[in-house]
């Protein structure tokens, strides 16, 4: 197990290198010279040169790339051009709402998705099953930002139950924070719950066809015990995987939903950076989210061992 974890961590290094390289290349994809793009059309040649020096764009490409790796290792993501502070600081200021929103959403997704999938499998091919699965397919067909807009329309504009938009930071009390995140978290979480429900259902159905289930029934176990005790545990393995994937998707989904609800998180940060052509911030946020994403995927893979003792890693 320990060697497996070590091996998986080592395997992350090449991927991390590629990720770092891709985010480096991004800034150089811009047509023409990024410095003049950043400086804007009215900038003087001096301005452009100053920005070039500031970003280190005057050095040859391979040198820039090596410098970029070197800075990354030290946790230095550079300076924001617009915000006039280090990118790491800008990210630090904005990470709270995004993480809270993602966590809240994953809780919603699990609490709704798993029971819906299990019920659907237990009442396979009945009206309950079909109704749940049509709802789930509708769910995976709604983009989260659209669901967010619909929620604003119904719950804020028409019913007036929740604030239309905005975020209340934790320092003003968690109850207020929670309230400001209810609609965005549901908009994010419901879509993922549909995904989780579909997986939970299909893996439950697979497990219910296994011989040990027939054996359980044959020895006189009640349907309840068979479904909830024996089948559920085994059906959770693929479900946990999809929950991990969902979690990773939710982080990037939060980027979009934050715009709908005007939540000042990482999503707003990267979008405003794109609109202002603040390349260091774009690079930094992209890199930060990609690393989070990688770590979550690793955690998912490692969790197999916990949930399924049959899985042996060589």
């Amino acid at each position: 197990m320990k060697t497996y974890i070590a091996r998986r961590l080592l395997a992350l290094i090449p991927v991390a290198l590629v990720v770092a390289t891709v985010s480096f290349v991004l800034i150089h994809l811009a047509p023409g010279d990024p410095a003049s793009v950043i400086a804007g059309p009215d900038a003087s040649a001096d301005d452009v040169q100053r920005i070039q020096r500031q970003l280190g764009l005057d050095a040859p490409m391979p040198v820039q790339l090596v410098r970029w790796y070197g800075r990354l290792v030290q946790g230095d993501l550079g300076q924001s051009i617009f915000l006039r502070k280090p990118v790491t600081e800008a990210i630090h200021d904005r990470v709270e709402p995004t993480l809270l929103l993602t966590l809240f959403a994953i809780v919603i997704a699990i609490v709704i998705g798993v029971p819906a999938g299990v019920l659907s499998a237990r009442y396979h091919n009945t009206a309950t099953d079909q109704a749940l699965m049509v709802v789930a397919l509708l769910g995976v067909s709604i983009p989260n930002f659209l669901l967010g807009l619909l929620f604003i329309l119904f719950f804020s504009v028409w019913l007036g139950w929740f604030p239309v938009a905005g975020y209340s930071p934790l320092e003003y009390g968690w109850a207020k924070t929670l309230r400001s995140l209810v609609l965005p978290a549901f908009a994010l979480g419901l879509v993922q719950s549909a995904l989780i429900a579909r997986i939970a259902r299909s893996s439950m159905l697979d497990v219910l066809r296994e011989q040990f289930i027939t054996a359980g029934r044959a020895k006189g176990l009640g349907e309840r015990a068979v479904v909830y005790k024996h089948a559920l545990k085994n059906a959770m393995i693929p479900t946990v995987t999809i929950i991990g994937i969902s979690f990773a998707i939710l982080i990037s989904g939060a980027v979009v939903v934050e715009t709908v609800f005007n939540i000042p998180g990482l999503g707003r940060l990267i979008i405003s950076a794109v609109l202002r052509r603040d390349y260091p911030v774009i690079q930094g946020v992209v890199l930060c989210i990609a690393f989070l994403y990688m770590l979550i995927n690793l955690a998912v893979d490692l969790s197999y061992v916990l949930f399924d003792p049959r899985v042996r890693y060589q």
């Binding site: 991004l26 709604i142 983009p143 659209l146 995904l195 997986i199 990267i270 609109l275 052509r277 690079q283």
Partner: protein, 299 residues
Amino acid sequence: MSVIALPHPETTGRPGTPRWLVLLTRRKTTLVGAVIMAVMLAVGVLASVIGGDPAHMDVAGRLAAPSRAHWFGTDDVGRDVWSRVVYGARLSLLVGVAVVGLSFLVGMVCGLVAGYYRSLDNVVMRVMDGLMAFPAIVLAIALMAALGPSVINVIAAIAVVYSPRVARVVRGSVLVIRETSYVEAARALGVSDVVLIGRHILPNCLSPVIVQASFVFAAAVLTEAALSFLGVGVPPYVPSWGVILAEGRLYIQQAPWLVLYPGAAIMLTIFGLNLFGDGLRDLLDPKIRGLATERQRVG
């Protein structure tokens, strides 16, 4: 037991109907998906016939509720929302088709090369892994930041995001097929690599790829809408469902139709693609189920 008396259910149907059509229409949900897609296709193709000028402004008639003159109402500068939604369908279809075409071209070449030439596998797949390490929408946003807003760039950015996913599926199939005895036989006969890949390997790894096409199509439509909604996709003057939603968001209290109609269009399109894709998968690739499909769906 008499088994020969009954005709096989898969071959029943009117004589002369192609078998794939019978199979595809046997499941009602697939049929519904196909109908939805056909309607969207017709709307997109006929946009200029059934819709008016999507850019025509009539400031006096701004934010008008849906009526006989304006089926879906008007927006904040008095443009006809029906026309804009209809042209939005055309854009979505264009983006979907172009992204599928582009990402399949790149993804299949990379996947075939990586699967067939083992020496190149590591290099190609590490790059693909690196691209896949980014969440789809985040990578697309970053690419758009570098490329700048335009329809072509949106297509290119989304294609870059989805090519590695196609490549991975293709590579997986190639790895299996290259070990089969018919490939070995062809190689023994002295068939060149190009012919071997093109004629013997490629056709046999198409099924999972075709299944994936409908999911990539859906993802492309969704990503374009999301990017444009965020203001980093197509330029604001292009009628896109995402652009209409972004503008509608500001007037959601006075003019909910600005959100409801383009929203319904997106939902219906994706719903149709998902239904169709599920049917296609059960038909072409019955072994892949559950998790694998959901992984394809999420991108």
